[in-house]
Amino acid sequence: MTGLAILIPIALGMGLLGLAAFLWSMRAGQYDDMDGAAHRILIDEEDEA
């Protein structure tokens, strides 16, 4: 039973971490332009070094 005291907070913490990551990615606008994200991979970046 003592295992529960460790495992449950870990499970909840990981769930919360996932939720926080999801909310952050929404706020950061990562879902604003799904089509653009799919196309941007095709842009040839020039060397700007």
Binding site: Y31, D32, G36, H39
Partner: protein, 708 residues
Amino acid sequence: MNAPVLHLAAETPLVTTRLTVPGMKCAGCIGKIERELVKTPGIAAARANLSAKRVAITHDPALDEGALTAALLALGFESQPVADNPLASDDAERKRLTRALGVAGFGMMNIMLLSVSVWSGADGATRDLFHWLSAAIALPVVAYAGRPFFASAWMALKHRRTNMDVPISIGVILATCMSLYETITGGAHAFFDSAVMLLFFLLAGRALDAEMRTRTRAGIGALLGRMGKSASVIAPDGSTRRMAAKDLLPGMLVLIAAGESLAADGEVVEGRAALDNSMLTGESAPEPVAPGSVVHAGAINMGAPLRVRLTHVAEDTALAEIARAMDEAGQSRSTYVRIADRASRLYAPVVHALALLAFAGWMIAGAGWHASLTIAIAVLIITCPCAMGLAVPSAQVVASGTLMRRGLLVKDGSALERLAECDLAVLDKTGTLTLGTPRADIASLDPQARSIALALAQTSRHPLSRGLAAALLREGVTPAAVEDIREEGGTGLAGRWQGLTVALEKPASEGASDALATTLRIGETRKVIPFSDPLRPDAAAAIAALAAEGLPARILSGDRAAPVAAIAHALGLPSEASADPRAKLAALEALKAEGHRPLMVGDGLNDGPALAAAHASIAPGTASDASQQAADAVFIGEPLMPVALAVRVAKACMRIVRQNFGFSIAYNALAVPLALTGQVTPLVAAIAMSVSSLVVIANSLRLAGAPQ
């Protein structure tokens, strides 16, 4: 991959301006805009959004919108400033639903983890601890994720109506309250998992619905965005200055340069040119204007500069009037009751009466108020319309996905429901039955003439030139070296080739026929190049397919009688010609008054009010923005068949929806006796809920196959 940012040395506060760029289509466009725009002095950063067809530019406040549009034009993109974001509220709703879905998903997974332990036999202090933990997760999750349902249910109750959200909200709130009571008193059964799972499934349905709406609405610009935003006003002393469209007054004299669009209605005072009126009339041929001609806002000057005396401005223009008519015509549609709400009007009272009866029955049987209440709530949970909430959106999302792959974008679920109910199709001619762009017949030209024609045609934005250039480019023609090309508004293009005068001119015999044509002149030889606006290749087949679905078609066009009659005869359809926007609207209203449910298919802004008034409407992807906005669905490409396909898939979708409802009712008929006899535990509820939802989703997925 972030947008390149150029840090300005000066510490000036930068401003951000948004522009719509309809021509942005691929990775190359994004790259070009973001890479090249920052090279313009004063622009700090540019970020393109391909889904919304927008570019956000961070720049020095000294640059105005005109400078930004000019910078984009230099890159080859036409753009329009966006005053405000008309889709903002839609977008906010979608984000709220997605956030709520994320929260509900988190809650569901963690509570299920604890619930599985309880079902596997945890008892005593462990079970109580798990119940308390579940409660700690479920209460904030229900409060947050349930808000869309609670708010909608509250609105419905306040207006003394009921919708699907009323039984959902009552079920969720009661299940949560009873579970909390069980937890506090150390009881065996808590339904937190059921309550949160229910919210998660239903939110998934709502989020899919919202996603479907925003995905197809994106990129549709606002109507007035197309109208000229400003005009060059000529003062009595001959000087000109730019004035915003809203500050213009009747009686002002304005200068309309080539390529500029009119900001208000007026009368030509000086100059001859051709106006592209396709915004208003949907006709592809430019209209020649001369002093005395009446011109309308939204028309684009294709030729020489014009001086125009304004007669109607701002809200009084013909364009603004059409926008108002569209608005009014669209009102009737907002009263349409969706099938899920119609079902819940029957469903909710039955369920609530049943729960009440269960409570009364067990009280009379002497079970005690706690047991009776538990059973009554179990009835509510088991009948809570989880499968019903998914029955409609799941089928509609799959159907709209199927249609999207076939080139038809449906805006929302209500559009699919209305499409399935139509019993009559009304079609516009130009741009709907036909392709709307003039196609040149170049068979009579020899290779040399072709290359000269291309050299001339590709320099002009005139629709005929563009049609000719497109036809020649398709044949792989390379342009000849023609020098000195100049365009004269209203007459044509001329240049020099190997010492000869070459030109594309209006045919000499003006008014000989209705057919569009241009003359190619090389030295002293002249050749006529005829143009036609061909029918869409599968127009006849699509109309036959519509008729097979029970939608006889008719033509309602703003074009002249002769060409309309020719097309109507070719397709064997009844027709009405020379209908202006009001006449089209009236025709639609008359059909509705006769009890018909017309499907309107049209493209021009002149079809806008009719599109908004029809029971359901479809516009081609080449239609004016306003028409696309008014229509329920937009089809892309040359074939007309997607229109017939839309009706067929909408009908198949409604069949599946009815099956889903049938299944939900059958499932309830089986589960309710269990609940009434007090056999429903949280485990039974969780299994019943998931199984019924999965069956409904699986049934909906059958629509993904080829719609036969």
